[in-house]
Amino acid sequence: MGTRNKLIYLLAALGGLLVIRNLYVILLQFPDEAAQGAIYRIMFFHVPCWFICFTAFLAAGVASILYLWKRRMVFDNVAVSAVEIGVVFTATGLVTGSIWARVIWGIWWTWDPRLTWAFITLLVYLGYLMLRRAIDDPTERAKNSAVLCIFAFVSVVITYKAIDWWRTQHPGAVLSFRTGGGNIEPAWEMMLLWNFLALGLIAAAVLLIRLNQEQVRREVDGLRRRVHEL
């Protein structure tokens, strides 16, 4: 087993253990919130999920710019892998948010700016993944999808800023670096960060698996090309 595989298992194990510990604290030690009752606990996954999304899409954007600059396929691999993870966590974020909304707002979905933009972001990045499937030449694919990825990041920025630009139903920012502190209990904020770390470790493990795959896939592309040549 290579060091890379070991690293993947290590990251996944650490992430898993941390999640279990966090779940224990969240479910058994934290009291119900006064207004929302038990459901508020979803926040401890919902919010970190979106952090992961932003991180992943930001990473994909940076990797795309680096690809266009350096033209090294590694950056393209990072970009796809990050986008895929971002899309999975966007879906998770939307579903957890929707379940929360069912209890608190009484509806699954509302066309609120924050929600709408999150959904648009999901569509835009799904488009990115579709575009990749439609291009055969790996170099061309890397270049065109990098350009799309840079455009797509605009929608991420809008989603992020939506709660500032429009009056929305969505709860405001919670973390101190955006609010100046005092919005939630310090213990809860710490827990959000702990869960961000836990999910981040798992996401990093998945990212590494995905990178391996992308490398093998490029090998397949190369061999296919050689077979054609004969």
Partner: protein, 51 residues
Amino acid sequence: MDERNFTFMFYGLAAAWAILAAYVVYLGAREGKIRRQLENLRRMLEERDKT
């Protein structure tokens, strides 16, 4: 109300992990597919090289 509230919280967490698990399963399936493609291509090239 409070019990229902608790059930929904459970659904929420379950859904989140279910999506993640589904993605990992999908990754595994794709891994297998890519490996098979690789093997096929390698074998094809070896056969061509022999002839």
